[in-house]
C-alpha cells in the first residue's frame, strides 16, 4: 500500500507540471465601451428619435436624467437580454434591458426625480402605468391591427436593412406577435373600447399637465419620458405615409397642451443626433 501511495504521489506530482506552457491568447475581445451605449430600435434616417416607443422612452429618460451615453441604432430585438429593444451596454460591460435601465439611471443619477414629493412619486408611477396599459393598446391598434396602417407604416420600419425574403416575413411575424399580445391582454379587440381608454388616459394627462412645463413641474421625470414617447410616436408616425390614419392621433390633437408639450420636449432635448 505504501508503494501504491508513493507511486500515486509521484504520478500526481508529474501530472501537476502540465501544461508545460501557458500562452497568452492571440485574439482579445473588444474593450468595454468608455461611455455607456444605448441601443435603440432604428431611428429615421438623419432623425434623432427611435421609431419604437420603448426605445424612445429610454432615450428620453437618459437625456432627462443627464446619464452619459451615446445612442446606436439596432434592428435586432434578439440582441437585448430581454429579447426586446432597447438595451443599455454599460461601461462595466453589462447589458441591461427593461426595468434594469431605469434602475441603472436611478442608481447612477440619484438626484433624478428627487424633487418629487412622496405623493407625486406615487402619482408618477400611476401615470406611467396609465400610458403602458391604455395608450399602449391604442398605439398597437393603430400601428398593427389596421391592415392599411401596418402595411404602409409598420412594415417599412421592420423591413429596413433586411434582405428578401426576410423583409416580407419578419414584419408579418412582428404583427402576429403584437396581435397575440393584444389578445392575451384583452379577450376581444374592440375599437371603441380601446379608443375610449385612450381618451380617458389622455384626458388625465392633459389635466395633470395643465399649463406646466412638465407633468410635475419644471423638471422632467420618468413619467414625462414615457408620455413623451407615446405622444411623439403617435403624432409623427402617421403624418407621412399616404393612406394611413391614426385614431389615437386625432384624440391627442384635441388636447393642445399635450401637442405643445410633445413639440417642446422634442425641440429642447432631441435637436442633435447622439452617436
Amino acid at each position: 500500500m505504501e508503494y501504491l501511495t508513493a507511486a500515486q504521489q509521484q504520478w500526481t506530482a508529474f501530472t501537476a507540471r502540465f501544461p508545460l506552457e501557458t500562452k497568452e491568447p492571440v485574439w482579445t475581445p473588444e474593450n468595454v465601451p468608455a461611455v455607456s451605449v444605448l441601443f435603440v430600435f432604428n431611428r429615421a434616417a438623419n432623425g434623432t428619435t427611435s421609431m419604437e416607443v420603448d426605445s424612445l422612452a429610454a432615450q428620453a429618460l437618459l437625456l432627462f436624467a443627464g446619464y452619459p451615453h451615446i445612442v446606436k441604432d439596432c434592428h435586432e430585438h434578439d440582441q437585448s437580454p430581454s429579447g426586446q429593444l432597447p438595451y443599455l451596454l454599460t461601461t462595466k460591460g453589462k447589458a441591461l434591458a427593461g426595468r434594469e435601465i431605469i434602475d441603472e439611471v436611478m442608481d447612477q443619477i440619484p438626484g433624478f426625480g428627487s424633487h418629487l414629493k412622496s405623493t407625486e412619486k406615487a402619482d408618477s408611477f400611476a401615470i406611467s402605468s396609465l400610458a403602458e396599459s391604455k395608450l399602449h393598446f391604442g398605439l398597437l391598434y393603430d400601428l398593427w391591427y389596421s391592415p392599411q396602417n401596418s402595411l404602409k407604416v409598420a412594415f417599412p420600419q421592420y423591413s429596413h436593412d433586411r434582405p428578401w425574403p426576410l423583409k416580407e416575413v419578419l414584419p408579418r411575424i412582428r404583427r402576429w406577435e403584437q396581435m397575440d399580445w393584444m389578445l392575451k391582454h384583452h379577450v376581444t379587440i374592440d375599437k371603441e373600447e380601446i379608443l375610449d381608454d385612450v381618451k380617458v388616459a389622455l384626458s388625465a394627462y392633459a389635466v395633470q399637465l395643465d399649463q406646466k412645463q412638465y407633468l410635475f413641474g419644471s423638471k422632467p421625470t420618468l413619467a414625462d419620458a414615457t408620455l413623451f414617447a407615446y405622444l411623439h410616436i403617435l403624432l409623427s408616425t402617421f403624418n407621412t405615409a399616404a393612406g394611413s390614419h391614426s385614431h389615437a392621433r386625432d384624440i391627442i390633437m384635441r388636447h393642445d397642451n399635450l401637442v405643445q408639450y410633445a413639440r417642446r420636449i422634442w425641440g429642447s432635448w432631441f435637436t442633435e443626433r447622439i452617436e
Binding site: F18, L20, T22, V26, E30, D78, P81
Partner: protein, 452 residues
Amino acid sequence: MAADNNVYSRPVRISSVRFEGIKNTSEQLLAVYSAPLLDTPSKMPFGHAAMLAHSQADTLFRLGIFKHVDVELDSQRVGDVDVVFKVAEVSRLYAKTGTELGNNEGSMTAAVKIRNAFGNAESFEANVSYGVETDAALYETKPFTSQLGSSFQFLFSKPWNGNPDKMLNVNAFKQNKSMSMYSSYSEQISGLAAKFKVLDLYLGATHELGYEGSWRRLFDLGSTASWTVRKDAGHSLKSALTYSAILDRRDDPILPTRGIYLRSLLFWILVVKEGAGLGGDVRHLKGDAEGQLSLPLGGGFSITTSLRSGILWTLGLRQSRVNDRFHLGGPTSVRGFLQNGIGPKDGNDIVGGDMFAAAGISLFAPLPYLADKPIKFHFFANAGNMIKLDDNRDIKAASRTLLSSFSTAVGLGLAVRFSILRLEINYCLPVSVTRTDSVKPGLQFGVGLHFA
C-alpha cells in the same frame, strides 16, 4: 478446365432481358438497366455477358428498393442468352424509432420513409430528433448543465437517370439547437437545400455540389452574453453554393490501419446586391480541407496522421458571424481539450475562429492475446490553433500568427471499434495551451464515426 473455358468464351447474343418480381418499379427505370445489355454486340463471350449482367444486378441492388437481386442467364437457343433478373421489392413504407447514447449526449429519433414512391427509386423521408447534451459525462455523479436540441427534416431523393451513383437530394429542414454550454445563445435554422451527389466507385471518391438557403436566428442571449456574441444576435439569411469532395481509400473508415482519406468542403456565399438575385446578407467564402494517412507497420501496429485546415474569408468589410465560424477541440477533434475548447473566447463564450489548423499522429498497437480483436492501444499527440481575423485582412500575417503557436496535448489509451462507431478512452496531458483554452487533462472519452 478447358471445358469451362470454352463455356465462358462461347460467343453469345443477349436476346432478351426480363424482370421477375416487379410490382411497383416503373418500366422506365428497368429500361435503364436492360438497355445496356440489349445494346451489346451481337456476338460476345458468354463470360463477358455474365459479367455485364451481374454488374447491372449490383447497381440495381444499390438503388435500395430491392431486398435482393439475383440474375440468371438462360439459353433457349444456341447462341442466344436471356437475362432474367429475379427481384423482391422492399416494402414501400419504412418507419424507425431509436435512441442514441453517447458519452455526454442522448437523443431520440423517429423517421418515416416512403421508398420507390413513384416507381423510379425516389424516396421521401421525414425524420425528427430530440437530443440533450450535457457538460459532464452521464456516468459521473456530479451535477451537470445541459443544452437541448431538436431537428426536423423532410428529404426527397432520386437517382439521376436511375443511377444510384448519381443522387439528387432536396431537403427542407428546421433545427433548434442550444449553444448554452459553449456560448450564450440558442440558434434556430430553417432552410432548403438541393444537392447533387456523384459517387465514383472506382476511385472511392464522392463529389457533391449543392445550394443551401437558410434563415438563421440567434436568440435567447440573456444578460451574461459577451459583446462578440451579442452583436451577431438576430436574423440572418445565408444563400450559398457548396461543393464537397471526399476520397476515402482506407481499409476501414472507423478504425483504419492503411489508406488515405481526403476531404474538402467549400462554401461560396452568393454575392448579390440588396434586394436582387438570390438574397442573403451573409457574405463570405469558407473552405476547409482534411487529410488522413494510415500506414501499417507490421505485427498489428499502424500509424495514422491527420492534417486539417480551414479559412472563412468575409467579402467586403464585414466581420464573420459567430454561427458561421469554425470550432476546434474535443475527443474526436483535438484530444486533451473540451468540445470546441480551442480558440478565441470572449468572457465565458466560445466565439469560434476564421482560420484554423490542426494536426495529429496516433499509434495503434495490438493488445496482448487480443491481436485479432478490434481493440487497440492508442498513443497520440495532437495540436491545433484557431484565430479570428477581425479587421486583419492580411492573409500572410494571419497565417504566420496561426502557425506561430499551437495548443498541444499527448496521451495514451484504448481505441475500440464497434460496428457503427469508434470508442476511445484516453488519458490526456495538455502540453502547451492558451490561457483561454478549455483543457481536459486526465481521462477523456470519445465516441464517434470520424476521429482526427
